[in-house]
């Protein structure tokens, strides 16, 4: 029975089809594991055991009746940023600690329609603002590879849950690296699709022009399955794009011969841990063996990406978070004296320090007299960054480099209150991808001192299929993605 917890989405579908075990059995096994280890890891903020079992039993009945979808009955977890009817969606914040949405996010609805079984909702940085999962109202998540370390953020709960085999896969979101950096720190496959590929309806907004939903899995194949399920135009999201979704599974096996890989020189410069660099170079050599060619490219404005991001994202966030005012739902301060007191104390008490910092930064950046100097300038830089990528893609098919300059860092080591910029620089290689709206993916490329290192692959708009194909071929040739931290009995680990 332990074997079933080793299986990814693709394998689980086969096992369930063969009736090796039922959905209820695998669901129960996961719930037991969550029960045993979540107290320690803090990966889940809500475990929906009864609901999961009911969904699993429904999937089993459908399977017995021959009416089940291919992926029916497969357990997974949702990042607690996706609204789920009847189940609390707190978004890592005290502000929404009591919030139960009366609607499903489109991503949630699509996964429900496929018959997937939701085990629970995963921890995250408050309103997805953070790179270590330390800003959550529900406390930090521990990295399953080493409990003294952060799992990355903001999708730290999803990453820790998948890495620790508390679920086979989880949804996540990425505004500046929130899928790829945790994937890198936890040894997972994580994909952020092109902006507009997945509906944002029901996904709580941090920075609307940058937020995209994706997944954290243990293989590119699993990511392909879930991306197929989640992607597509949604009339409820005007920024989702009405383009057909290609068959991601069908293109997984394309040979990589002739693939032109660009290496941005700025991503292999000062600040990159030499051991990390070595593993990335090894991975690139592996691609050469698969028939790819390497070429240095330059993303001239990449040094401006973090600065531009920390104007645009907080600016949008400052407006997106205005709705949390204590009036209609969410946290409300005790005994407000008047309207102004209601606003001030509800927001002062309901939001954490990092969220408040970004609201203030964003409000400042949009203020009269500063707007041109900050917001408009940042938008111009955003354009330049997009142009850099476009230019690079004239010569190469994809861009590769490290996802993060280093492996997971220690909890509390980047004292965010005194030096937020140190934390902001965590996303130095990932942020430009969001600014440009491009798809990006991180896959495990080896271990440094027993800790995972992620390789980032960035493609042209709508090239998710190609990125998954490249990742899959690499995973066929290597076994880094199969290394797991081995949390507790029942799951073999890297030791």
């Amino acid at each position: 029975m332990a074997d079933m917890l080793q299986q990814g989405i693709a394998e689980l579908a086969k096992s369930l089809a063969r009736k090796d075990f039922s959905s209820a059995e695998v669901t129960r096994a996961y719930l037991d594991r969550i029960h045993a280890h979540n107290g320690d890891l803090n990966a889940y903020v809500t475990v929906t055991g009864d609901l999961a079992l009911a969904q699993a039993q429904a999937a089993d009945r459908a399977r017995a009746a021959g009416t089940a979808c291919t992926w029916a009955g497969i357990p997974f977890a949702h990042k607690d940023i996706f609204c789920t009817t009847g189940v609390r969606t707190a978004c890592g914040s005290r502000m929404l600690d009591n919030f139960i949405a009366p609607y499903d996010a489109t991503v949630v609805a699509k996964m429900n329609a496929a018959g997937m079984v939701m085990l629970g909702k995963t921890n995250m940085d408050e309103f997805a603002m953070g790179s270590s999962n330390e800003t959550s109202w529900y406390g930090p998540v521990k990295n399953p590879w080493n409990r003294q370390l952060v799992p990355g953020g903001s999708s730290g709960g999803s990453a820790a849950a998948v890495a620790a085999h508390l679920c086979p896969a989880a949804t996540a979101t990425d505004t500046g690296g929130s899928i790829r950096q945790p994937a890198s720190f936890c040894g997972l496959t994580g994909i952020k699709p092109t902006y507009g590929r997945v509906s944002r309806w029901g996904m709580i907004a941090f920075a609307s022009s940058l937020d995209q939903a994706g997944v954290l899995t243990r293989s590119a194949e699993d990511a392909a399955i879930l991306m197929q399920m989640m992607s597509g135009f949604d009339p409820k999201d005007s920024t989702s794009v009405d383009l057909p979704v290609p068959d991601y599974l069908a293109s997984l096996e394309q040979p990589l011969k002739g693939l032109r890989i660009g290496l941005p020189k700025q991503h292999f410069a000062q600040g990159l841990n030499p051991q990390v660099e070595k593993l990335i170079r090894n991975a690139l050599a592996e691609f050469e063996k698969l028939g790819a060619t390497l070429k240095e490219v330059s993303l001239d404005n990449s040094h401006l990406s973090v600065s531009a991001y920390y104007v645009i994202a907080p600016a949008e966030a400052s407006a997106n978070l205005s709705r949390y005012d204590g009036v209609r739902y969410g946290y409300r301060c005790d005994k407000p004296a008047d309207l102004e007191d209601l606003y001030k104390r509800s927001r002062a008490e309901g939001f954490g320090a990092e969220v408040k910092r970004r609201i203030m930064v964003g409000t400042y950046a949009l203020s009269a007299g500063f707007y041109d100097a900050y917001y408009i300038k940042a938008q111009k830089i955003r354009r330049l960054i997009k142009d850099d990528f476009d230019r690079a893609f004239n010569d190469v098919d994809v861009i590769m480099g490290p996802t993060s300059p280093h492996t997971a860092f220690a909890l509390g080591s980047k004292n965010k209150d005194q030096d937020p910029v140190a934390m902001y620089l965590e996303d130095i290689y990932t942020i430009a991808v969001n600014l440009a709206g491009l798809p990006g993916l991180s896959i495990p490329a080896g271990l440094v001192n027993g800790l995972p290192v992620g390789l980032q692959i960035v493609g042209r708009d709508w090239s998710e299929g190609q990125l998954l194909n490249i990742a899959h071929k690499f995973q066929q040739a290597t076994d880094w993605h199969t290394r797991t931290p081995g949390v507790g009995p029942g799951v073999s680990g890297e030791k």
Binding site: Y103, I204, S238, T239, L339, Y343, Y375
Partner: protein, 477 residues
């Protein structure tokens, strides 16, 4: 010292779409509080706006009607401020790239002259909800039914120079939006609201004075009074050595005065930035032409046609063309009865009096266009006199039947039999020798006495032209 008033108007017109600007909720007025607020209107987390295409078409329609530049790429922006009836904490509006750019409106003033007033822009935005203070002694209620209702804010250039011009502009705008069918224009329900920017300056001065903005004036009459009283306040202030402060003021109709409001919010910084949840709205020529094809004949064009086609005076043509329903009614009457001028008189004078008295719109007229034409036909073919026609019309208003039915049943048919009239006149001449004597001795005024006698005798049915002619002939002898 002579002063000049400078006025610019910002008019909010509620577009009469079925659903809201960015959500599927109904825009129906008068529903139970918060029954027409969707999860987007309530600003629940993760909800997103989707632009109502009908609202966009209506805005473009308005733009075409005022000859404006249409924004091929319009952009929605967030206007940020906190207020309980603004659930998202920002209002989605258009700042730098409105759907409707520069256009103009030509108005006819009381002295019959026309003036073209520039329209700076018209942008789309969502309405806020309502805060309810009266029903709750210690709390404020919030009704979000109106939140998200589409508005078109029409901003004029500061080219209006008097309260009367302002009213003429508003009435023209009102007429236009009704013509276009883009709003019910009902000021009492807030479907059309007006903010007036008022400043004064000495005649001959080219720079503008400091303006005050009078918010939310909800009737034509109040607009006129508010501007007059505000301009006078500013003049008095300046003449007393004071200075006008740029501020928002409120018009109190009961006291007929304006007073300062929201002084705390004067320094509001709305921190506008492009709404990232909506892409820029890009429209092409085909879209614009498709909207143009739906434009009705507009009031100015119609009035010109009425003058030309029906030979009406400019004044009559303008009055009849000002409202679409009136114009349509008039045209039906005119075409049915084949006497455009009589038709104009009856619609503008007699019918209008009845409508005014009973406070009805022409669409609810108790006498249909066809029925009125039926009456006018009987005047034209001399079945009845114009005087009798008034009696018949009154009966028609009281739903006593068609003109013909009433003429028949009341025996109101005009007597045009000259033999019968002659007989009647002979008898009257014979019975009134004194008056005949007076007339023949040069007192021509006595003529009306004879006419009166004939009409009395005939119960008003004698053909007046014949009566005149026969009387004159017989009295001369």
């Amino acid at each position: 010292m002579a002063w000049e008033t400078v006025i610019g108007l910002e008019v909010h017109v509620q577009l009469s779409t079925k659903s809201k600007l960015f959500s599927g909720s109904s825009t129906q007025f008068g529903a139970e509080p918060n029954t027409q607020a969707s999860i987007y209107d309530l600003a629940l987390p993760g909800t997103l706006p989707v632009l109502n295409g009908e609202a966009l078409r209506m805005a473009v329609k308005f733009g075409l009607a005022i000859g404006a530049e249409i924004g091929k790429k319009s952009v929605f922006d967030r206007k940020n401020y906190f207020y309980p009836d603004l659930p998202k904490g920002y209002q989605t509006s258009q700042l730098n790239h409105p759907t409707v750019g520069k256009g103009s409106l030509t108005v006819t003033l009381d002295d019959g002259t026309t003036k073209t007033i520039g329209i700076t822009r018209a942008h789309m935005e969502e309405d806020a909800g309502k805060s309810l203070h009266e029903q709750f002694p210690h709390d404020t209620g919030i009704d979000l039914n109106r939140a998200g209702t589409p508005l078109l804010e029409i901003v004029s250039e500061p080219e209006i120079r008097s309260a009367k011009e302002a009213v003429a502009y508003l009435k023209k705008l009102h007429s236009l939006i009704l013509y276009l069918g883009i709003s019910d224009g009902d000021m009492s329900q807030g479907s059309m609201r007006c903010d007036a920017n008022v400043s004064v300056r000495k005649v001959g001065e080219t720079r503008f004075g400091t303006r005050a903005e009078i918010k939310n004036i909800n009737s034509f009459r109040f607009v006129e009074k508010a501007i007059l009283v505000e301009a006078q306040r500013q003049i008095d202030l300046i003449e007393d050595g004071g200075k006008v402060v740029q501020e928002t003021r409120l018009y109190d109709a009961d006291k007929n005065e304006t007073r300062s409001m929201r002084s705390k919010e004067v320094a509001n910084d709305y921190r506008y930035f492009p709404e990232p949840d909506l892409l820029p709205v890009v429209i092409d020529d085909a879209f614009i032409e498709a909207v143009r094809a739906t434009l009705p004949e507009l009031p100015d064009v119609k009035a010109a046609r009425f003058q030309q086609q029906y030979g009406l005076s400019e004044y009559d043509a303008n009055v009849l063309a000002a409202h679409r329903d009136t114009a349509d009614f008039y045209e039906t009457v005119a075409n049915d009865c084949s006497d455009a001028k009589l038709a104009a008189n009856w619609v503008m004078v007699d019918l209008q009096a009845v409508l005014n008295k009973s406070e009805l719109d022409i669409a609810q007229s108790p006498v249909s266009a066809a029925a009125l034409a039926g009456l006018i036909k009987r005047i034209k073919d001399s079945t009845i006199s114009s005087k009798i026609a008034k009696t018949v019309f009154e009966a028609m208003v009281n739903s006593e039947g068609s003109a013909d039915q009433i003429i028949d049943s009341k025996g109101l048919k005009q007597v045009s039999d000259s033999g019968a009239i002659e007989k009647m006149i002979d008898a009257i001449i014979a019975a009134n020798p004194k008056q005949v004597e007076q007339y023949r001795s040069g007192q021509e005024k006595v003529f009306t006495f004879f006419v009166g006698q004939v009409m009395k005798e005939s119960k008003g049915k004698a053909n007046p032209a014949q009566v005149n002619e026969i009387l004159q002939r017989k009295l001369k002898v």
